[in-house]
């Protein structure tokens, strides 16, 4: 993927994350938004030609972005979302490894490092939220 395609995908994930976990939203509304976001990511990935792995990576990134708007237990869900991203990357890479693709070690190490360091975060300020989003975008576009 080119950095431009990655950047556009990142924007889509950010846009979808904006609507998730609103205080007044019910379980069904959140589930419908998640399913719709996944369908949108599938469509985008189909357009750029990597529909196998890319939609799920975008989904994980979307969940990471969405945790910044939570009001309770933000650190816990932040770590969980990053672990979920790591899980998708790890087992997806492992599946593709058997087809001859390289293992994306740098990306995995970067995500694991972010998840581990996030666990040490104290009260997450707006500035810290912004830093986290920058790190995620950097990992997404350049790794």
């Amino acid at each position: 993927m080119t950095p431009l395609q990655n950047a556009l995908g990142c924007l889509l994930a950010l846009g979808a994350a904006y609507y998730l976990w609103r205080p007044s939203a019910s379980l069904f509304k959140n589930a419908a938004l998640l399913a719709g976001a996944l369908a949108l990511f599938v469509g985008y990935s189909y357009g750029i030609g990597d529909e196998e792995f890319y939609p799920f990576r975008m989904f994980a990134l979307c969940l990471c972005f969405s945790t910044t708007s939570l009001r309770k237990d933000r650190r816990r869900f932040l770590c969980l979302a990053q672990i979920f991203w790591f899980w998708i990357e790890f087992f997806g890479s492992l599946s593709l490894y058997y087809r001859g693709f390289d293992f994306a070690w740098t990306r995995l190490i970067a995500i694991a490092g972010l998840a581990f360091c996030s666990a040490f975060l104290s009260r997450i300020s707006k500035g810290m939220e912004f830093c986290l989003m920058v790190f995620w975008i950097a990992v997404w576009i350049f790794f």
């Binding site: 379980l27 599938v42 189909y46 196998e52 792995f53 799920f56 650190r75 899980w87 492992l94 058997y98």
Partner: protein
Amino acid sequence: MSKILRLLGLFLLLPGLVALCASMQVGPASWYEGTNVFWGTPICLFVSWISLAHAGTLLSAVFLALGVRLDRRTALLAELSTLCSLCLAVMLPLVQLGVAEKVPSALTFMESSDGITHLGSPLFWDFCCIVVYGVLSFLFFHNHISSRNNPAQVIIRKPFAWLLLPLVLWVQSVVSLDFASTFFPEWQGAFFPIYFVVAAVYCGLALVNSLLCAEGYRVRLLEKMTAAGSWFVCVFWIWEFLTKGIFFSGVFVFAGVLPQLLWVSAVRNSRIGRFLVSLSILLGFFLERLYLISPEKGCLPFFGVVDVGLVSFTIGFFLLFYFGMRRSIGCFLDEEGTFFGDVDGSEMEADISATEKFDKENETVYVHPFTSEEFRTIRLPLLLGILAMLLFVLWEMNLSQSKPTLIEILPLTFPIVALVAGIALWIRSGVFREIPRRVLFVIMAFCILMSAISAIFFTVFSKDESEKVNGAGVSAVSMESRSIEIHEMLPERNNLVDVESEQSVGEEK
């Protein structure tokens, strides 16, 4: 109702046992199998029951870890269904072997030429992960039961839940690698792990909903999650159709379309309606597993008597085992003061309001990182688990004869951490204080004996091929040298004989 289901289980189990015997007698030819992979109905049933085994851990451990309220009886029943499904699933790969003579070698991993199975095989990862999952699920269930009499053991429930949460994802992902690491384009792909996990969670919800219907109760949260889960599964199948051109209408109808009937209040409020919807989900995913194994054949026209018998065996075994165990733990489920699902609304409301008040009081209390009570409980066991994992990795990569790569060892790392941490946590809960000393001594002696036997067994039989060849070569050389020595000795022997004969001739003269 429980008695009727036990009888039904017995009724299904008996012909199932006949089919099982026929299967072991005749071998793989007796059941439906994929033409390219020689995996058949037993593997299909194995994957199905492993998926269903996620019900208990999901609902009990994950909900506990994320702070979602679930009543105690539903959690216990869900955990019990996990254990019963796992016991059943473990037997099925042995049936897949086809002949009874292969079972001992499979149990001891004596498959490859050097006596130890290949560490990089997803099948080996599968076995290890499922064993760890079974052990920890059992310990979690035991802790849940024993905390009734000993409230001090409640302290390890949440840390245990945090260990089980990633393990659920890990186990199902490793099972998916059995398929994703092969050479069939329908199976290959990075999507397989996440699809397997979502499907497992969805099937697990359907199983627990059906068991609750059998109990005569309902949990509305689980019904909502089932309806919401069906949307994700539909998106997956649409995605699979767009990318790989694979679409199986039977699966889509049974597990994707029919669950939307839960939106109809007449179906949702009817016990039979909810049960039938759950059953359709389970049927849909069973058909999906069959299709997964052999897409070119379709399913039902090739489904024979032995296949039906094997399905009957698994269902009958589960019903008998589950409701039999349900009867034995009934005292924990039927005591006063524990509400069940949405039935006893008044007590549940009072309980919720008390809990919510407690939560509101604690909202203002900020918990610093790594200072929560859960973390303080689990940190030492987790450290032990990480140390054990590092020792294992170092030993395998440096001292083992097979010298696997890091990627081949990675799938085993977290299960080792979870196993050691879970056992350490369980020991820490003080459960051993309740066991008599004599019994404890016997258990420890048994564990030490089994470890010693396993170590001796693998040490004696795990010889490298080169050592075998060298050993044969060395013995051949030694035989040669020995024969040369004998041959060299022979002239001396001959001389001695000549001298003796001359002496005897001389004496005669």
